[in-house]
Symmetry: C2
Subunit: 332 residues, 2 copies
């Protein structure tokens, strides 16, 4: 075993679009575990649009600063433990950053079960799956026969949201970039229709694909798509506000969507923001449901796995440009 | 009894600011009641910011058109009835418009109890009181010790919202235009503090008056005040979206507030639009509570009563400019 630790440092905070020039690969000394800590070896780094949002300022966590190892959740294996709660060989999830090794307090890591494929712990049984599950069911509250629209529908969360909504008896329309993704949503994942936001005329496409209006909108994008949705919503519609990926890769936008709050009032809409930690108390039930649906073949899990720590910056940049399908991660 | 019926006609839909030139006083023939209808004599016309919103387009009702008698809720007395449900002398509430007499189907009118002062049927026991009650308690869900902010706080709804929030053990801050209104909110209605939105520096005033952040915001205004509030809200805060009076008197705004949906997600806010009809099933309980609070002197009812049908357009124009304090109505 080498004594080094390759790390990706956030060399410079981006002002506009995120690029490879904002990151730097460095070689540091491998850390050691202090009292109550464990040393972990990173196996898969999770790529998430939120990684970019953390660079804009404080969110549900403090803002990132230049010079730090890039933050990010990862699936890791315990190499050495100085806490009785974890043993060498245990799989854990935590924000251990973009690096080969990390030393972290055991209490800040979550022990994961052993299952195959292990990557499912980062996708359907990880933040993506739980976000889709709780956001749709707890905030969206879809009823059978209702129309559900989800944006970033080919992404890790969106692809699961649409399938869970189908399981609940809804008509499901996914918004994604490009015809090919739309075809995949309909042909492979069972969505009823897809909207290509890159083709323009969002309102016209919404009218065509959602003739009865929209009851639930799962918003991963914010921006123009959210604005179009406000006009398409039915009375008493629910919008689950999960993210705003259209607005992360640049300066914070100067304005919000038209129709706020006018359409919220006249249509009596509910917009609810959430992050997955808010539902920690119902996590076991959610995982049980998700595992059953996967086992029964009702939930298809799409993963997009790249290789090599050095490719992590490019993996995030590409994700922000919408090049992935399903859950993107980097095998280290 | 004259056989005429003076009416205010919406002569022209406003493109920009509403002015007296958009209305016309006409004399028509007094209508007669058809089968299942009643003839009512208008006693008090209710002035509401929503009257202006109806001119912008379809809301929770269809849009107004030029040439029609101006729509609006009123307290009226039945003069002649051709429906067994109502008797001459009965007091009723309905959208009978800006006119001295109206013939309307009995089933579209709500019979009101006889109580003194009768004007309370339009304020605290009418749409304003029920809107304050349901919006605050059902959408805002305030808990004792929390901070509640209400905009248009000196208006019919806002002045009640603040007092009900005080009754529920909250710290209450009202946003209103001008120092004098603010002083009235604090000295007469028992608000903890007031913010003068005309004095600028909303964010600074919010920091000063809400040192622990804001848990519940009752939004009557939309626009810049809503934007400032999004930045002031605490995690898991609730925003009751009641109206957008800042945006009614002109063309529909080109943009919504900044922070939508970014701050909704990171702070896990809930924004809920509502109109009072949504809570019809809980109306009796609400009226009982409101009556008890008024009887116990815990709820002060402010009314702003003008006289003369011909002054109704000016009364609405003035209300949109914020010149009223409490519930504005016109005695006909």
């Amino acid at each position: 075993m080498a004594e080094t630790n390759r790390q990706i440092v956030l060399d410079q905070l981006p002002q506009g679009k995120l690029g490879p020039e904002h990151f730097k690969l460095v070689e540091a000394e491998r850390p050691t575990a202090g009292d109550g800590e464990v040393l972990v070896r990173t196996r898969y780094i999770s790529l998430d649009a939120a990684n970019r949002a953390w660079m804009q300022g404080a969110t549900y966590r403090s803002a990132l600063t230049s010079g730090q190892v890039m933050a990010g959740g990862a699936l890791s294996e315990v190499v050495e433990s100085r806490d009785p709660a974890l043993q060498p060989g245990d799989l854990v999830w935590g924000d251990t950053g973009w690096q080969e090794y990390a030393a972290a307090p055991a209490k800040r890591l979550a022990k994961l079960p052993r299952l195959e494929p292990v990557t499912h712990l980062l996708s359907v049984y990880g933040v993506a799956g739980l976000t889709a599950y709780f956001g749709l069911l707890e905030c969206g509250k879809p009823k059978p026969g209702e129309t559900v629209v989800v944006s970033a529908a080919a992404g890790s969360v969106g692809s699961l949201v649409g399938q869970i909504a189908k399981l609940k008896g809804c008509r499901v329309v996914g918004v994604a970039g490009g015809e090919e993704k739309g075809k995949w949503l309909v042909d492979e994942l069972g969505f009823d229709a897809a909207i290509d936001y890159k083709a323009g005329n969002l309102r016209g496409q919404l009218k065509e694909t959602c003739p009865a209006g929209v009851d639930v909108y799962f918003d991963n994008t914010g921006g123009d798509i959210l604005e179009a949705m406000l006009f398409a919503m039915n009375v008493h519609g629910r919008i689950a506000c999960c993210g705003a990926v259209s607005q992360y890769d640049g300066a914070a936008p100067a304005h919000g969507p038209r129709g706020v709050p006018g359409l919220i009032v006249t249509k009596r809409l509910t917009l609810q923001g959430f992050v997955v930690m808010d539902f920690d108390d119902r996590r076991e039930k959610a995982l049980k449901d998700l595992q059953a649906w996967v086992a029964e073949g009702k939930l298809k899990v799409q993963e997009d796995i790249l290789e090599g720590l050095e490719n992590t910056p490019g993996a995030l940049i590409g994700l922000l440009a919408g090049e992935n399908r399903g859950k993107r991660m980097v095998k280290v």
